[in-house]
């Protein structure tokens, strides 16, 4: 499975034709197909291309909505 550094993940921000990836608990999910992640932006508060593990705690939903999306890799814990 592909490993993403934080820096690499940053490019997958859903803009300029790039897919929208978000990291959660060490896994990288592809949310490009979601209506709610168009241009890599979610609910005016979150952007793709980053680790949103902490952010999900403030969300009005749990991880179950994210786990339905395909996993494309893992986030390198060393950077």
């Amino acid at each position: 499975m592909r490993r993403f550094s934080k820096e690499e993940l940053r490019h997958y921000n859903g803009l300029d034709g790039m897919p929208a990836y978000v990291a959660y608990q060490g896994k990288v999910y592809d949310v490009s197909g979601s209506f709610l992640w168009q241009q890599g932006l979610h609910q005016a508060t979150h952007a793709a291309g980053s680790d949103l593990t902490a952010a999900l705690k403030q969300a009005p939903h749990g991880a179950e909505l994210l786990l339905r999306f395909p996993i494309v890799g893992i986030l390198d814990p060393n950077g």
């Binding site: 209506f35 709610l36 168009q38 609910q43 005016a44 508060t45 969300a59 009005p60 939903h61």
Partner: protein, 183 residues
Amino acid sequence: MAQVTREMVERAGVNVDQLVELLIKNAAAELTTYYYYTILRVNLIGLQGEGLKEIAETARIEDRNHFEALVPRIYELGGKLPQDMKAFHDISACPPAVLPKDPTDVKAMLTVLVEAERCAVRGYTHICNLTAGKDHRTYDLALAILNEEIEHESWFSEFLGEGPSGHFLRRGETSPFVSKFLK
């Protein structure tokens, strides 16, 4: 824009631009849901569908009321609706409540309806959390809408066999909570 109104909310520590964007997204969800529910409602026919028509209609009218009630708050806080209605549709806080391929599949119809309501319950809970004790007017409005969204969720969830919700369909006027914002 109502200048001091906005300033009070800013000084309470709310990110007003972000809040306004959320209000616009939820207004878009309301108006698009009103549209999609129109199609769902006309397709709720036959022995099973007919029983849902009434609550779908009430939920539809109340969502239009929610749109109407949100718009003044958006402008008070310095926001505005997009010029382009297609753009407005696409920034909705909730996915489109599209008619299922087989509209005679009542379970599929109910699933679309209940998911739309659940999305709304999440959205307004979040707005209440952001504004509680800080932006009293937006909080009051979001709470009023939330009260109605919870009823909508309850009505549909009972039909999905999720157990009793303690609610009865609306009697009398629509929007018992939001109507004060519509006068």
